[in-house]
């Protein structure tokens, strides 16, 4: 069966790649995580140790909020941009997707320019109310940075999905008496389900693991990637940082799996 052999041959590079760059380092990471003074129990630290646990909750909440707000903003904007033709549309799309290539550090820098001590908002509020509004270094600044980071990505996915929507379905719903809100609820949102899951997953995972923005802004707040960084470089605590890394991966994965199975029924029905 030469055909079978050919398929196996094609799988070989994939297997090599997976083993060399994925499985081996991952295995090493998992082993390292258990090599601390507490042994395997080091893995529980992320849940048990109050400081770690607070950081974890912080990170998950931040990522979840980022995902939800990103989806809402990007859906409204993406739907409008895809469905309407107006002068300046191309420029607007270019502008909205411009931050795609920015590294997290640049995004953090932009937030500081906006809401830092010398920032635009602080300047403005100082002049209007005599008080400087500075929130770049709070969790809200970080949240804004993450939004800035994920909205362009999600908008593009949503726009592609909206383009593929069958306008006939919306017209059919309207002919049956459905007003604009009912059409969105019963036809458009269910059809966009798969796009929400896919782009939401990316937004969530990115926000969980984002480092550059956090590194620039998170002076007063702890998020997991920052915690791992400090444990690793400053405290040289390899075992803990490895355990935290694995924990971060597993928790992000578990939440995504949950979201997927939760929306699975609607997605399957829409397929």
């Amino acid at each position: 069966m030469p055909h079978r052999y050919f398929v196996w041959l094609c799988l070989l590079p994939l297997a090599v790649l997976t083993v060399a760059f994925f499985l081996l380092p991952m295995a090493r990471l998992v082993v390292t995580g258990a090599e601390g003074p507490q042994g395997l129990a080091g893995y529980l630290a992320i849940l048990v140790e109050p400081r770690y646990r607070a950081t974890l909750i912080n990170t998950v909440l931040l990522a979840a909020a980022t995902t939800v707000v990103t989806l809402v903003v990007a859906t409204v904007a993406g739907m409008f941009l895809q469905r309407h033709r107006f002068p300046g549309r191309a420029v607007l799309i270019a502008m909205l997707t411009f931050p795609l290539a920015f590294p997290g550090v640049v995004v953090g820098f932009l937030i500081i320019l906006l809401a830092g001590r010398q920032g635009l908002i602080g300047d403005l509020s100082n002049r209007m109310f005599g008080e400087k509004l500075v929130f770049a270094y709070s969790i809200f600044g970080l949240f804004l940075g993450y939004l800035y980071f994920s909205i362009p990505r999600v908008i593009l996915t949503i726009m592609a999905a909206v383009q593929k929507l069958d306008v006939g379905l919306e017209e059919a719903a309207r002919s049956l008496g459905a007003g604009p809100w009912a059409v969105q609820r019963d036809v458009v949102l269910p059809a966009l389900g798969p796009a929400f899951v896919a782009s939401g997953a990316i937004a969530f995972a990115t926000a969980m693991g984002a480092f550059g923005t956090a590194f620039t802004l998170a002076t007063n707040i702890d998020v997991l990637p920052m915690l791992i960084y400090t444990e690793f470089t400053l405290a040289a605590n390899f075992a803990t940082s490895a355990a935290l890394s694995v924990g971060l991966g597993i928790i992000a994965w578990a939440i995504l799996a949950l979201a997927r199975s939760f929306s699975g029924s609607t997605v399957a029905a829409a397929g």
Partner: protein, 355 residues
């Protein structure tokens, strides 16, 4: 609960034209009256504006300024489709993929706030009416084309629309199924008595379903009439050729006869005419012995198609004539024959203004 006969609305379209944003003139201003309970068919070749006209009636397109759409003498022009109470069947069926068959059929009722039990009863009624029992809980992607068509129809009819609009509902189906569903659809429409506007480019579908047919050509109405009028008394060459096969002959006239290369053919026109454009349907020409008719020609070819045979005859007119003869007539290519054509079946058309 049974559907009361004739609960449809009457429709009037007044000088409705349509120019799209990109400048395409899809519809010249047209006026059309559709009686309560009537089935009107919009028939024409691709791109002639049938769908545009239907969408204007539905409320999915706004007519150009000056156009008005009236249902039962109420101006509906600026009423959106969701408040026009029209049932619509789309060519692609547009069934909701995230709902079961029963939920699709009941969607309009749910939107209207009908109670669950009453809704279920109405859905069951329509499931029976459209012969889809047993499929209620299927997902839409588990249905065949014919079943989808029935679900789409059931969904449109469920809301008891005043007007039912169908855009080529059978085109996506294979020929045998199309024929069967056409008959079923015809019976259903008659029994419901809803005012129906049916778009098709298939003339036999139009003939079978329509009380009246509107033949459209490049955004204009070429002719409105009953199937018989359209077939036997086409107003112009376009209608004559679009509906069925037609021989169109242009020839000089002498004493009420067409003067043709193969003889003289009496026509029922005015004696003062000097030339005429005449239409003769292939099945109205009788093949007889040469000499037994004023007109004669030579058979070029005979194709046997079962229920009849189609012959091409040259020499009678300056163009080859198409003749549909009964399948019992014995004739062969090369044979000379007479062509017997009654003066009444020759339809005179207005002179050509080709454009």
């Amino acid at each position: 609960m049974s559907v009361p006969a004739g609960h449809g609305a009457s429709v009037r379209i007044e000088t409705c034209g349509k120019t799209f944003a990109d400048g395409t003139r899809a519809l010249e201003p047209a006026t059309l009256d559709i009686a309560r309970g009537e089935t009107l068919v919009l028939l024409g070749p691709s791109g002639c504006g049938k769908t545009t006209m239907l969408r204007i009636i539905a409320g999915l397109e706004l007519p150009d300024a000056g156009g008005r759409v009236l249902f039962d003498d109420n101006d509906m022009t600026s009423v959106p489709i969701e408040r026009r109470n029209v049932g619509m069947v789309f060519q692609s069926y547009a069934l909701f993929p995230n709902m079961s068959v029963a939920d699709n059929i009941g969607y309009g009722l749910k939107i209207r706030g009908m109670a669950r039990q009453e809704r279920a009863a109405r859905v069951a009624e329509l499931v029976a009416l459209t012969n889809i029992s047993g499929l209620e809980n299927r997902r839409v992607d588990q249905l065949s084309g014919g079943q989808r068509q029935r679900v789409a129809l059931a969904r449109a009819v469920a809301i008891r629309p005043g007007i039912l609009l169908l855009d080529e509902p059978l085109t996506a189906l294979d020929a045998a199924l199309r024929d069967r569903l056409r008959g079923e659809l015809n019976r259903l429409l008659r029994s419901l008595g809803i005012t129906t506007i049916y778009v098709t480019h298939d003339q036999s579908e139009a003939m079978e379903l329509g009380d009246r047919i509107v033949v459209m050509q490049k955004g204009t109405i070429a002719q409105i009439g009953t199937p018989r009028e359209i077939y036997f008394k086409p107003k112009n060459r376009f209608v004559a050729e679009f509906i069925g096969a037609a021989n169109i002959i242009e020839a000089p006239v002498e004493n009420g006869d067409l003067v043709l290369p193969g003889g003289r053919q009496p026509i029922g026109g005015e004696a003062s005419q000097t030339t005429a454009v005449a239409m003769i349907r292939p099945e109205t020409i009788r093949i007889v012995e040469e000499g037994a008719a004023p007109l004669s020609g030579t058979i070029d070819s005979v194709s046997f198609v079962g229920d009849r045979q189609r012959m091409l005859v040259s020499g009678a007119s300056d163009k080859v004539l198409t003749v549909d003869a009964p399948n019992t007539v014995k004739a062969q290519a090369g044979e000379r024959i007479g062509l017997l054509i009654a003066a009444e079946v020759v339809r005179l058309l207005p002179p050509e203004n080709r454009g």
